[in-house]
Amino acid sequence: MERLIVDADGKVVIPPEVIHKRGLRPGDELTLVETTGGLFVYPNTIDPKTLEWWNSLTEEERKLAQAEAREYESLSEEERDAIWNEYAESLEVEAEGDEIELPTGERSV
């Protein structure tokens, strides 16, 4: 953890050892994200879609999201796998009843 001092212009200086360790160069872009836990600086890893989603949340929603995130992060890898393995499709012939007819007269892509 590094302690940074904000100067009168709102600037902070990233310690040289952190610059070196992270491979940062002059001109590199960093993303500053305000979370309920504080300010986080990411080395340009946040894509526009994720940022758009994050910025769409109100302060209250971010607090609720943090609580939901805590719950998810407390799950074991096996428990998370179980969530993402739900609703697996059966390949059996008997399961084919939910398949729908393909549109006619329209060429597929």
Partner: protein, 176 residues
């Protein structure tokens, strides 16, 4: 990237990583490289793809997750329905050493139906599963031959169906 698919299907693993990136962001944890890669590929494809799709299984899972994380992903994607013969094709794909889940996903690429647009199939499946992609590319000619053999024996709308391309998130980002 040189190949710019208009219609893409994200495999569940990619969507999971995008979801988990957002969870980690909300919790104040840095994302993993895989989560960054998946999210960047999703954002990049959203700039030119006209349809970004997910399977019914992925949609069902997201609908059960907290809306604060899942709703935006669901809003950015369309859910494909299982078209007739999807499972039959998936069962045949199993013969090429794909897992049941991977076989279903690849089959969605040809037999997945967008009920709103009344269209079947997509241009490319985006995956983070390198083994799946490698197996598909290695055995492509065999798979393509088997697919052609199957659809030729089906009724008219099915004969125009094609195999999707399988691209990895790394390929999306590096333009391969």
């Amino acid at each position: 990237m040189s190949f710019q698919p208009e219609n893409v299907l994200f495999d569940k693993g990619v969507i999971r990583r995008i979801y988990e990136f957002r969870v980690r962001l909300a919790f104040g944890l840095p994302p993993t490289p895989q989560q960054v890669e998946a999210s960047r590929a999703f954002a990049h494809l959203s700039t030119f793809a006209s349809r970004m799709c997910i399977t019914q299984q992925t949609a069902n899972i997201l609908q059960r997750r907290p809306a604060r994380f899942a709703a935006a992903i669901l809003n950015d994607t369309q859910t494909l329905n299982k078209g007739r013969y999807l499972r039959r094709w998936a069962r045949r794909l199993r013969g090429f050493a794909f897992s049941p889940e991977d076989a279903v996903m690849i089959a969605y690429g040809s037999f997945g139906v967008d009920v709103h647009l009344q269209k079947a199939g997509i241009d490319a499946v985006v995956t983070n599963d390198l083994k799946l992609a490698a197996n598909f590319h290695t055995r492509y000619l065999e798979i393509d031959g088997r697919f052609a053999e199957m659809v030729q024996n089906l009724s008219d709308p099915h004969r125009a169906l094609k195999l999707p391309r399988i691209i990895t998130v790394a390929e999306v980002l590096t333009g391969v």
